[in-house]
C-alpha cells in the first residue's frame, strides 16, 4: 500500500478513512518528494544563480506544467498558485470582481455552494452594491433546478459561480452545459473544481469556464497550495490581491509595474515544497489514471448506496446513482440520532467520517432541513470492506440508540 497512514493499526484496526472530501491521505511518493526537496535542493526559486535554486525553480514550475496538463489548460502561465481553492475564489472575487462588479449588477451562485464560493461573493456584492442571486436546488432530485437557473440567468448576471461537484450531495453538475448557458446570457463563469479535479478527468478548455479553482490537499498533495486557472489574457485583466516581492518587474518610490502572469499574483516566497508535493501527487494520479479512479469511486458508491438502501432507518441524500450525475460522496442521517453521535460511534469502529454543515450551511439547513448531516466520502484507496465496516457501525448506532 502506498499510503503509510492507512497501514497504521489503532486497537488492531486499520483506519477506514471515509473523509476524503475534507482532505485526502498522502502517498509515500508525495511525502518523499517533499522530504527529498528539503534534503537535496532546498533553495528559494527564480533568482538564485546556483544549481539547487535552478532545480527548485524547475521543479516548482514543472508542477504548474503538470497541473495545466492535468486539466488541459493551455500552459503553465495560466496556473496561479494560491493557498487553496478558497483563496483562489477570493482572488477571483477581489482581483476580477472589484474592478468589474458595479452597483446594481447581479452575481449568480447556487444553493449547493461551499462557503468558499458564497462568502467572497457576499463580500463583493456588499462592497460594490451588487445583488447576489441563488439558483435553487431541486428538493427531490438534488440537482440544480432548471427553472430557477433560467430565472437567475435572465437577470443578466455579470458572473455565474458554481461548483462542479457538491461536497454534500455528490451531485456532478454538467459544467460544460451550464457554462454555455451562462455565456449565452452574457455572464462569465467561475467553476469550483475542489471536488471534481481529484476524482475525474476534467478538460477545462472543453468546459469553457473562465475561472477555475481547485486544491492540492484534496488530490493527494500537501495542504497550503491550490490553483486559480484562467487564460493569460483574463489574468492580465485582473488586479493582484497581495503585493510585494516577486510579483513586480520594477519598483519606483511611488509606483510599480507588475510581473507577468501568473507571477504577478504570487507575491513573496511561495509554497515551494507545496508545489513539489503537488507535482508528485499529479504524477501519482496520472499513473493510476483519472478514469480508473472515477470508475472505482462509482463502484464503491453504488455498493454503499445498495447497502444503506435496504435500511429504512437510514436516509441518504443526493441524486440517484442511476442518474449518472453522482460522485463518491454520501450524506446520510439515521432516524432519531444526531450526526455527532453517529460520528463518535463510527470512530469507535475505527471509521473516520465527517459531520456538521460541511461548510455548506444554506444547503444543509435550508435544502436538507437538517442541523447537521453525517457524510462518507470515498477515494481511490477505499474498498468495499470499509463500507461493510460502516454498515456494522450503523448497526451499532441503532443498537445504542434503540432505533428499529
Amino acid at each position: 500500500m502506498d499510503f503509510p497512514l492507512l497501514d497504521i493499526r489503532y486497537d488492531g484496526k486499520r483506519i477506514a478513512y471515509l473523509d476524503s472530501a475534507a482532505t485526502s491521505q498522502k502517498p509515500a511518493q508525495v511525502i518523499e518528494s517533499i522530504s527529498d526537496y528539503y534534503k537535496t535542493y532546498n533553495a528559494n526559486i527564480h533568482r538564485g544563480i546556483y544549481k539547487i535554486s535552478e532545480k527548485a525553480t524547475e521543479v516548482y514550475i514543472g508542477s504548474k506544467e503538470k497541473a495545466a496538463k492535468l486539466i488541459n489548460a493551455g500552459s503553465y502561465s495560466e496556473i496561479v498558485y494560491t493557498k487553496n481553492a478558497t483563496d483562489a475564489i477570493n482572488l477571483a472575487a477581489i482581483g476580477w470582481g472589484n474592478r468589474n462588479i458595479k452597483e446594481g449588477d447581479h452575481i449568480l451562485i447556487t444553493e449547493m455552494e461551499h462557503h468558499s464560493n458564497i462568502v467572497p461573493w457576499q463580500m463583493l456584492a456588499k462592497k460594490n452594491g451588487a445583488v447576489l442571486d441563488y439558483v435553487d436546488v431541486d428538493r427531490s432530485a438534488y440537482t440544480l433546478n432548471e427553472e430557477s437557473l433560467e430565472k437567475g440567468l435572465a437577470k443578466s448576471p455579470k458572473i455565474f459561480a458554481f461548483t462542479h461537484v457538491s461536497n454534500v450531495l455528490g451531485t456532478v453538475n454538467d459544467a460544460k452545459r451550464l457554462t454555455k448557458m451562462a455565456h449565452d446570457a452574457g455572464a462569465l463563469v467561475l467553476l469550483d473544481g475542489a471536488q471534481s479535479v481529484p476524482h475525474m478527468k476534467v478538460d477545462i478548455r472543453d468546459i469553457g469556464a473562465d475561472l477555475f479553482a481547485f486544491s492540492s490537499h484534496k488530490m493527494l498533495g500537501p495542504a497550503g497550495i491550490g490553483v486559480l486557472r484562467a487564460e493569460r489574457s483574463f489574468l492580465e485583466g485582473m488586479d493582484p490581491m497581495i503585493t510585494g516581492g516577486d510579483m513586480i518587474l520594477s519598483v519606483e518610490k511611488q509606483s510599480s509595474t507588475w510581473n507577468d502572469v501568473p507571477w504577478k499574483f504570487e507575491a513573496g516566497t511561495p509554497n515551494i515544497e507545496g508545489g513539489v508535493g503537488f507535482g508528485a501527487a499529479i504524477d501519482y494520479l496520472n499513473a493510476v489514471g483519472m478514469d480508473n479512479i472515477q470508475k472505482h469511486e462509482i463502484e464503491i458508491t453504488k455498493y454503499a448506496l445498495d447497502a444503506l438502501g435496504t435500511d429504512d432507518k437510514v436516509r441518504v441524500y443526493g441524486p440517484d446513482i442511476k442518474s449518472g450525475v453522482r460522485g463518491g460522496i454520501i450524506s446520510f442521517s439515521i432516524k432519531g440520532v444526531h450526526p455527532h453521535d453517529i460520528a463518535t460511534i463510527f470512530d469507535s469502529h475505527g471509521i473516520a467520517i465527517r459531520t456538521g454543515h460541511h461548510c455548506a450551511m444554506p444547503l444543509v439547513r435550508s435544502v436538507l432541513g437538517l442541523p447537521a448531516a453525517a457524510r462518507m466520502s470515498f477515494y481511490l484507496y477505499n474498498n468495499e470492506e470499509e463500507v461493510d465496516r460502516a454498515v456494522q457501525a450503523i448497526k451499532s448506532v441503532k443498537e445504542i440508540f434503540h432505533v428499529g
Partner: protein, 134 residues
C-alpha cells in the same frame, strides 16, 4: 475514547430528558448554541432568594448535549447561585462519569455554560461577555 460515553444512563436521559420544557415565567432565561454542530439550547431558571428553585431547558442537539442538560438540570435544582458560579468542567465529568474528550467537550458543556450564563445575567442584569468557554 470508546463508547463509554453512551452508557445506558446517558441514552436514557437523551431519549427521555428530564426538565425539558419551556418555563412560563422564569426569573431568567438564556439561549446558546454551538453553530458548528447545530446544538441549540435555552435554559430557564426560577430563582428565589439566590437559590435556583426550578430549572428547565429546551432545544435540539446530540445525545451528549441533551443527556447532559437533563442530568445537569436535575443536579442544579435547589443549588445557590454561588454554587452554580463555581461549577466547571469537573462538575460535568462527575455528572456523566467520564471525560467526553476534545471532540465532544462543547456538546457536554453547552448546558452548563448556558446555566452559568443565566446565573450571571440574573445577578448582573447583563450578559456575561468575559467567559468564553468552560
Amino acid at each position: 475514547m470508546g463508547l463509554d460515553i453512551y452508557a445506558e444512563e446517558m441514552i436514557s436521559h437523551y431519549e427521555h430528558p428530564h426538565n425539558k420544557r419551556k418555563m412560563e415565567k422564569p426569573s431568567v432565561e438564556l439561549h446558546e448554541n454551538n453553530p458548528l454542530c447545530g446544538d441549540d439550547i435555552t435554559v430557564y431558571c426560577l430563582v428565589e432568594g439566590n437559590v435556583v428553585r426550578d430549572v428547565s431547558f429546551d432545544g435540539d442537539g446530540c445525545a451528549i448535549s441533551i443527556g447532559t442538560a437533563s442530568m445537569l438540570t436535575d443536579f442544579a435544582k435547589g443549588k445557590g447561585l454561588d454554587e452554580i458560579e463555581k461549577m466547571n468542567f469537573d462538575t460535568i465529568k462527575e455528572l456523566i462519569g467520564i471525560d467526553p474528550g476534545p471532540a465532544r467537550i462543547k456538546c457536554a458543556t453547552l448546558a452548563l455554560k448556558t446555566l452559568k450564563g443565566c446565573a450571571f445575567l440574573y445577578q448582573h442584569k447583563e450578559i456575561d461577555k468575559a467567559t468564553k468557554e468552560l
